[in-house]
């Protein structure tokens, strides 16, 4: 049973009807609404009902209002229910990987650690050192690798393997991982590879983790070990190699301490 069906019964009959009606309106509003509603009902099955219920309660709150403000309210409630989708199954991967757009990563590092770097130029220097294997200082080793939950992928193999071995080039990588629409052609992506921290749980992602982010979909029934990335539709960009879905999960932000330096690199 999907989470929506097991949760909606916790509402009274009138509330259930109201929730369904709001969701229908949202799905007709725009593409984002269509995607989110489809994920919430019927695809989501990892998010516990206890977490889905308050989200549906927010939806219910818009039964008599314009739904223009619904996405913001939905997102705010989602922030309270991240990393609840249950742990990925064994065997746990040794190496995890997170791909980021270089320019955006530099911007985020500057925003978060301005007191240390002071300028984007110095952040760029740090990233250059990071990719060239230059030792990190104590402070730098404690820098986080993601602003919020890290969305990661890995290679399903018994031995530690490069999570991004599948990627032909940066666009192919983006297409496989569902990293936003193609707007970074010719610009490098940074592949951050690190050893899984045994102290952090790696969770199956849910609609709450996705929030308002596009290109997310719960995996098909029968694929319960972990999430699966939603690749670009073939119409979105012409690629020499068709994109393939990759395992996907989320975990709390971790530091640079566990980076696998020889696999952390840039991809163009």
């Amino acid at each position: 049973m999907n989470t929506f069906d097991s949760t909606i019964t916790r509402f009274g009959p009138r509330q259930q009807a109201a929730i369904r009606k709001v969701l229908l309106r949202w799905s007709r509003e725009d593409e984002l609404g269509r995607e989110i509603v489809r994920n919430v009902n019927p695809l989501e099955r990892f998010l516990p009902a206890d977490d889905m219920k308050p989200i549906l309660a927010v939806v219910y709150g818009f039964r008599s209002k314009s739904i223009t403000a619904l996405p913001d309210a939905y997102q705010l409630e989602c922030f309270n229910h991240t990393r609840q989708g249950g742990e990925v199954s064994d065997p746990k991967p040794t190496f995890l990987g997170r791909a980021v757009e270089r320019d955006a990563f530099i911007g985020w590092l500057y925003k978060k650690y301005r007191g240390y770097f002071h300028t984007r130029a110095f952040v760029r220097d740090f990233v250059r050192r990071l990719l060239s294997g230059d030792p990190l200082t104590t402070y730098e080793s404690a820098i986080l690798t993601s602003p919020y939950s890290a969305w990661v992928t890995w290679e399903k193999s018994p031995s530690p393997t490069d999570p991004f071995g599948f990627a032909v080039d940066a666009d192919h990588l983006r297409a496989c991982l569902g990293l936003a629409p193609p707007r970074w052609h010719g610009r490098p992506a940074i592949l951050i590879v690190y050893e899984r921290n045994p102290g952090l749980t790696v969770h199956r992602p849910t609609v709450a983790d996705a929030g308002l982010h596009r290109f997310f979909e719960p995996p098909p029934i029968g694929n319960d070990e972990h999430g699966l990335t939603k690749t670009w539709p073939s119409s979105l960009r012409k690629l020499s190699t068709a994109p393939i879905p990759r395992p996907e999960a989320v975990h709390a932000p971790d530091t640079m301490e566990r980076l696998v330096r020889h696999l952390t690199r840039e991809l163009l």
Partner: protein, 741 residues
């Protein structure tokens, strides 16, 4: 509520359901007007859904930084529009105090180098009515565009009034005029946070080290800066990036400033000048100097360094008010490392140790804090990690030297405890080596047999009362002064002979001038100064005992006090005033003695091993008055026995006939006796058996526990495992010994 105009424009730019791709998207952004941008900026900063729809950041990405990355790709006219929008948002943020708006907008502004944005950021920096934090963020934003912000903007900032702008000023100048940045840094009187300056200084250093003139500038800045800033500069040259570069101030000081041998070696072509030639050397740098002096191979082996003693004498005094204990410990660890790597000979160890002792004697703080003892402990601690065995390995090796099945004996203890419903047994542990070794071995064996309730509790000596846990359930007591009835309550496990008495040679040598000293004692003094065992006749024992009591010792062993008085009874000149019963902790007594504040020291076995090995054997400043053989003679072979006594849960409630606790006692006694045999067997086998050596080393490590270092027994350790063998074979006699081979 209507959707904002920019959303309508976005949807118009999209092809049906597909969001605009790269070119179309950038065109869309370029098409927005100032009002659109102002609205969009607010929505980005406040993370509203409409902004998400525009930029579609990937899952897990921060919308603000992701969207800002696109701004840098826009044309200058659009950036100017954006800049104007940002200025309005910032002003609104200042007016309303809405921090999220302010910080977000300033972050976006930092990405735009257009003149309008630069202008308004500059105004912010200079506006005293704006919050310091906002001004600082604006300054960092400006520092991101060194090519469009003139240098004099930074050099005219009054850092005396606006010290919070120092990192931004340095950041900007480090990209424009690194020399000037350095001068600003060197002149600043303010305390600085190393993290906030690390990157700007890294960049400054990177630029300057490439030229001779740059190195000179760095050296000059170092010379004129405060100690705080110097520390930061030294930290920069600790970075791996500069690992192959000599810090420019290293030549001036002729020593390396950090305990990094690689830096020292790289300055090796320069003469290694002694620090006393540099009178202004800060005390905090002297310790690292001495460490490098120890470590460097460039000056030859210790035994060949003619100025070794002078060097240490001078440098110890240059330490000024710094605590000597940690310094002594660190130097000892360096010697330990050199010995471990076979980089020092026995002669070298002797030469170094003599120099350390003599230098400490000339430096009152070193003498007061008994630096030589810290040195010895540091040396022993270096070996501790290699001496320590894992529990499973210790158990395996102990079994090799047992005559009975240790596992079976331990299991009997567990079973008996279960029958009594006793889950925890408290063992009284003093600082004496027997207590600590038994505690470790018994505890390990019981744990291996799944009894996890063995608790070791610290105590003094003489009873089962512990410092923190009341009366213990089990522990050793010396029976020398016990009545026959009291002795019956305990079971003898080992006999102890390890009493030793030492005196300062200078004090002994001065005694003949005292008219109260009897003639027989004078004769003994003469023999004594030739060697500790010269003459052990009964008369000699009496005279020696007289000498001990004459030294007004603090006697920490009541049994020894009685023995000495009995022995010295027939010798004239001893009065009641020679009785000193005020006891101090054993470690303090040793310290007093080594500081020269007491003439005579009565020590247990472990302290005696240290004194004999490190003070008596070479410099002869300390002589031994009595050793364990003397005491054996005095006791006529009937030395005190250390008996296993039971208290705590064995007394409360009192035991009844056929009390199950009797079986527990019996099981513990059997276990203790067998462990005693094992200790003896291991010690006997030390010379010929590698497994025995590993166990002895482990016992040596046991004496170096953190608790002992911090509390009681910090000087009750051995520096050589062979001394542990001596303790277990000469000072201790384990009862019911059985040779297992």
């Amino acid at each position: 509520m209507k959707k904002p105009a920019y959303i309508r424009k976005l949807r118009a730019a999209s092809s049906g359901r597909r969001p605009p791709e790269e070119d179309a998207f950038l065109c869309f952004l370029e098409s927005l007007n100032e009002s659109d941008w102002e609205k969009l900026i607010v929505d980005i900063v406040l993370q509203r859904a409409d902004a998400f729809e525009v930029f579609l950041p990937p899952r897990g990405e921060d919308l603000l930084s992701y969207s800002t990355a696109f701004l840098e790709r826009l044309g200058l006219p659009t950036q100017t529009l954006v800049g104007r929008g940002l200025e309005r948002v910032v002003n609104e943020g200042i007016r309303s105090g809405e921090r999220q708006l302010l910080n977000g907008a300033l972050f976006m502004a930092s990405a735009l180098p257009n003149s309008a944005t630069i202008e308004f950021l500059s105004r912010l920096v200079r506006d005293p009515s704006v919050d310091d934090e906002i001004r600082e963020e604006a300054a960092d934003g400006l520092a991101s565009h060194p090519s469009v912000v003139p240098a004099n903007f930074w050099t005219t900032i009054d850092l005396g009034q606006h010290s919070f702008l120092l990192p931004s000023v340095l950041t900007a100048l480090s990209q424009l005029r690194p020399t000037e940045a350095l001068e600003v840094l060197a002149k600043t009187p303010h305390r600085v946070s190393p993290e906030s300056l690390e990157y700007p200084l890294r960049m400054i250093a990177r630029t300057l080290v490439s030229t001779g003139a740059g190195l000179t500038q760095l050296r000059h800045a170092y010379r004129t800066a405060t100690e705080d800033i110097r520390k930061v500069l030294r930290g920069i040259f600790d970075l791996a990036e500069f690992g192959s570069i000599t810090a420019p101030w290293a030549e001036e000081m002729s020593v390396s400033l950090v305990s990094s041998p690689s830096l020292l070696v790289s300055t090796g072509e320069k003469a290694f000048a002694l620090p006393m030639q540099i009178k202004t050397l800060s005390p905090s740098l002297v310790g690292p100097c001495i460490e490098d002096y120890f470590k460097t191979p460039l000056l030859g082996p210790f035994e060949e360094r003619e100025q070794l003693k002078e060097y240490l004498t001078e440098t110890f005094q240059m330490l000024d008010g710094l605590p000597r204990g940690p310094i002594g410990q660190k130097l000892g660890q360096i010697l330990g490392e050199k010995r471990s790597n076979h980089e020092v000979t026995e002669q070298g160890v002797h030469a170094l140790w003599t120099a350390v002792k003599d230098a400490a004697a000339s430096d009152p703080p070193s003498k007061d804090s008994v630096l030589p003892l810290h040195f010895l402990r540091g040396q022993a601690e270096y070996f501790e990690p290699t001496w320590n065995l894992r529990e499973v390995e210790l158990v395996r090796l102990l079994y090799l030297f047992a005559n009975r099945d240790l596992a079976e004996l331990a299991s009997r203890v567990r079973s008996a405890a279960e029958m009594c419903e006793i889950r925890e047994l408290t063992n009284a542990v003093s600082q004496f080596h027997e207590d600590r070794i038994f505690a470790t071995v018994i505890g390990t064996l019981l744990k291996n047999s799944k009894f996890f309730g063995w608790v070791n509790a610290s105590r003094g000596w003489g009873s089962l009362h512990t410092y923190d846990s009341g009366e213990a359930d089990v522990g050793f007591r010396n029976d020398f002064l016990m009545s026959a009835d009291e002795k019956k309550l305990g079971v003898p496990v080992y006999r102890f002979w390890g009493y030793h008495v030492f005196a300062h040679r200078a004090w002994v040598e001065g005694l003949p001038s005292d008219p109260e000293v009897p003639e027989e004692v004078l004769l003994t003094i003469g023999q004594l100064l030739q060697g500790p065992n010269s003459g052990s006749s009964p008369k000699n024992l009496a005279a020696r005992s007289w000498l001990v009591l004459r030294g007004y010792p603090r006697i920490g062993f009541p049994e020894v006090d009685r023995l000495l008085r009995v022995q010295a009874k027939g010798v004239n000149g001893l009065s009641r005033r020679n009785m000193t019963h005020r006891m101090l902790p054993y470690d303090e007594e040793l310290e007093l003695f080594l500081r020269g504040e007491s003439n005579v020291f009565i020590g247990g076995a472990v302290h005696a091993r240290l004194l004999r090995r490190w003070w008596c054997s070479d410099s002869h400043t300390i002589v031994q008055l009595l050793d364990s053989d003397h005491f054996r003679a005095m006791m006529a072979g009937r030395g005190p026995q250390n008996r296993l006594f039971f208290g705590g849960q064995f007394n409360q409630p009192p035991m009844r006939p056929a009390d199950p606790r009797e079986k527990l006692q019996a099981a513990l006694i059997e276990l203790y006796l067998e462990v005693g045999s094992v200790l003896k067997n291991v010690a006997v086998a030390y010379a010929r058996d590698a497994n025995a050596r590993r166990v002895i080393e482990h016992f040596s490590a046991t004496l170096l526990s953190d608790e002992a270092r911090d509390r009681r027994g910090k000087w009750a350790f051995v520096t050589e495992p062979s001394d542990m063998v001596g303790l277990l074979t000469q000072d201790d006699e384990f009862l019911s010994p059985r040779t297992h081979r």
